[in-house]
């Protein structure tokens, strides 16, 4: 990915991410999150992860965000005047988080991961294709895959039980 494209995408990502955190109404937060997910999908596409990009849009921006929007509308959430909490908490949290991010940026840019740069090398044909991912998923990661199906079953059952009218 060329540095210019990366820069544009990074700016868009950070702006829409800020929108998620700072928007006063939950609907706007959700819409900003959808934008973030779309820009991330573009980034995945440019990183030779076509299947992941497609799933990002279908599963995340499609299924999961619809679930969020559905709940927001079901509960009829309005704009909140005190959406951001106390002022002291706000500035304290911002300070600590930016400290963390700056420290991470410092270590990541000065560490051993110097621009060598494997990101410029062309990948083998078929890298990130459905075939290659499925082959790895159903051989090396088959146990995790089966556990995942069990996790989904538990999640579905528990969501139904929790959302039922009375819990007796």
């Amino acid at each position: 990915m060329s540095p210019i494209v990366f820069g544009i995408l990074a700016i868009l990502l950070v702006m829409s991410g800020l929108g998620v955190v700072l928007a006063r109404s939950p609907i706007r937060s959700a819409m900003s999150l959808v934008m973030t997910l779309f820009f991330l999908a573009v980034m995945f596409l440019l990183l030779d992860a076509q299947l992941v990009a497609a799933l990002q849009i279908i599963v995340y921006a499609g299924a999961i965000m619809v679930l969020f929007l559905f709940v927001i509308m079901l509960l009829n959430l309005q704009e909140e005047p005190a959406a951001l909490g106390r002022v002291g908490l706000r500035y304290g949290a911002s300070f600590i988080v930016s400290l963390f991010v700056l420290a991470a940026a410092h270590f990541l840019t000065t560490g051993t991961l110097q621009p060598g740069n494997a990101m410029a090398d062309a990948v083998a044909p078929g890298f990130g294709s459905t075939e290659q991912i499925a082959e790895r998923l159903f051989t090396q990661h088959i146990f995790a895959f089966e556990l995942t199906s069990f996790l989904l079953l538990v999640a579905v059952v528990s969501a139904v039980v929790l959302a039922k009218k009375n819990l007796q």
Binding site: A49, V71, L89, A93, A120, R136, H141, T148, A155
Partner: protein
Amino acid sequence: MTAAPISWFLVLAAVLFGLGALGVLIRRNIIVIFMSIELMLNAVNLVFVAFSRFLHAIDGQVIVFFVMTVAAAEAAVGLAIIISVFRNRETINADDLNLLRW
């Protein structure tokens, strides 16, 4: 042709993760806190995909599937809990739900 180095992606992911963490810390609406958690999970996905490209290893992309699955399961259960809480307490403000607070 020049390409963006891996460290740029990692720094971008750290920034996105930080934004998500900030959302969890300062927002009072449980649903927005939840969306901030999704933002953090996505930052981690970006790291996985970037390293998958960097190391020319497909496993990073396979792990992203598992992260997405866990995120979907978490969203389903979490939103069911939110609906249940709202039905009982008529609020989803994190400051009002202080029964278990020390």
